[in-house]
């Protein structure tokens, strides 16, 4: 497998308005640089998925947006508010599913825990919460510490959605959910997005699970953003080309185009290329290749391809 240089992907998201704006944020934990001059913007109303390997800084970012983590530098805004300075107001407008699966108080019943959330969360919609409990098949009389990982996750999701907040921060929301409940959750989220004006920032390893719900994607690696764009742009510009190519094939593409990955077989080849399709096909043709098929990548495949590029320093 031949590997090209890093693809510079688009970062600019236009003029907004943005529900979440992150500029030049860095955070160092002793040995590791968790966030490294990170810039990111989530347009209002977007369902933005943040993909990246373990340790890319996804959780650090989400925690920071909740006003829980300190930063070394940079600026952070949730609907114009800095979570470090106006944490309470930010949290009043954010529904958060944390990475960990612990419910605050093990000695409370699930019902009492949700009541605790209800009393402390402005805009809590009791009717909606009750419906979510039914949809997710949550037993309110159980003690919080008797729940399985998946059951805990369901309660966390209910607590995040029930107030219909302006922003949702979901850290691995499908983690621990079985097939049926995951399917329920995707339906619930689709309805939620249809019913409430919401901006969602979702961090996950399993993009394929929520692929059809998201409309924006950001690729994070080692605390830096490789790129962010509407999913339609990604599907339109990052494509896989199959064809045949002579032995001494040397590809040179124009500006704005980059080969992300090349896999060569004995007779044919597969190129994953960033660029306008007709330009790429023309470029491949000029170089002597015959393109037999072009296909967009699924979001999951795209993320994998982009993240598995090796960095050339």
């Amino acid at each position: 497998m031949k590997v090209s240089t890093m693809t510079p992907l688009p970062i600019d998201m236009g003029d907004g308005p943005f529900a979440i704006e992150v500029e030049g944020v860095s955070r160092r934990f002793e040995e590791t640089q968790a966030l490294d001059d990170l810039a990111l913007a989530v347009p209002e109303g977007a369902v933005y998925v943040l993909v990246g390997p373990n340790g890319a800084g996804k959780t650090t970012l989400l925690t920071m947006l909740m006003g829980l983590g300190a930063r070394d530098s940079g600026s952070l805004r949730v609907h114009g508010m800095d979570p470090a300075a106006r944490g309470a107001e930010v949290r009043a407008n954010v529904g958060y599913v944390p990475e960990h699966q612990r419910l605050g108080y093990p000695w409370l019943t699930v019902g009492r825990y949700l009541e605790h959330c209800a009393r402390l969360t402005p805009g809590w919609d009791r009717e909606y919460a009750a419906r979510l409990c039914r949809d997710f098949d949550v037993d309110l009389s159980k003690r919080c510490d008797s729940l399985s990982k998946g059951q805990t996750r369901r309660v966390q999701i209910i607590a995040a959605l029930a107030s219909r907040p302006a922003v949702l921060l979901l850290d691995e929301p499908t983690d621990g959910l079985d097939h049926v409940i995951r399917d329920v959750m995707l339906g619930v989220l689709a309805e939620h997005f249809a019913d409430s004006p919401t901006t969602a920032l979702i961090s996950t390893h399993r993009v394929y699970e929520i692929e059809r719900l998201v409309d924006h994607v950001g690729v994070l690696r080692r605390g830096r953003l490789l790129g962010q764009m509407p999913v339609d742009d990604l599907r339109g510009k990052l494509r896989r080309y199959w064809g045949t190519a002579p032995e001494d094939f040397e590809l040179s593409l124009g500006s704005g185009q980059r080969v992300v990955r090349t896999i060569r077989g004995p007779a044919d080849a597969e190129w994953t290329v960033w660029g306008e399709e007709q330009d790429v096909v023309a470029g491949l043709g000029r170089a002597g290749a015959t393109v037999r098929d072009v296909a967009p990548l699924s979001l999951d495949e795209a993320a994998t391809a982009l993240l598995s590029q090796r960095e050339i320093s």
């Binding site: 689709a190 997005f193 059809r212 339609d232």
Partner: protein
């Protein structure tokens, strides 16, 4: 009305939804004046972003297949022509995908056409046999 999406279809979701509606028209499952599912219902049942459904409906409206009655939902337009317009259009989409599939497999258009003719003959003779 039941709309299904194929996991393996690489086309954008909104295009798939548009084609699914077209297919229902051609089959007669949908007709002039019929209501489409609400954006919320369809998004929820397909587990997709509601904006994708809105986009599909907006495109269908632009093509004159659907009209939106504010506050009431989306309905099949009374001027829709399932047989004359939508049928060839849908066939064209299917043909395009078939051609792409052929190309991917290293086949020429003629190979596929030949195969289709043979299949059609086989189907005909079976019908006669039954009759």
């Amino acid at each position: 009305m039941l709309i299904r999406l194929e996991q393996t279809d690489g086309r954008p979701l909104y295009v798939q939804i548009m084609d699914a509606v077209r297919a229902q028209l051609v089959r007669g499952a949908l007709g002039a004046g019929d209501a489409l599912p609400s954006v919320r219902e369809l998004a929820s049942s397909l587990r997709i972003n509601p904006r994708t459904v809105s986009q599909a409906y907006a495109e269908l409206e632009r093509e004159g297949i659907v009209h939106v009655r504010p506050g009431k939902g989306s309905f099949i337009d009374s001027d829709v022509q399932p047989t004359e317009v939508e049928r060839p259009r849908l066939a064209r989409e299917v043909a395009l995908r078939t051609m792409a599939d052929a190309s991917r497999n290293g086949l020429l258009l003629d190979d596929v056409l030949d195969a289709l003719r043979i299949l059609a003959r086989e189907a005909d003779s079976k019908k006669e046999g039954v009759g």
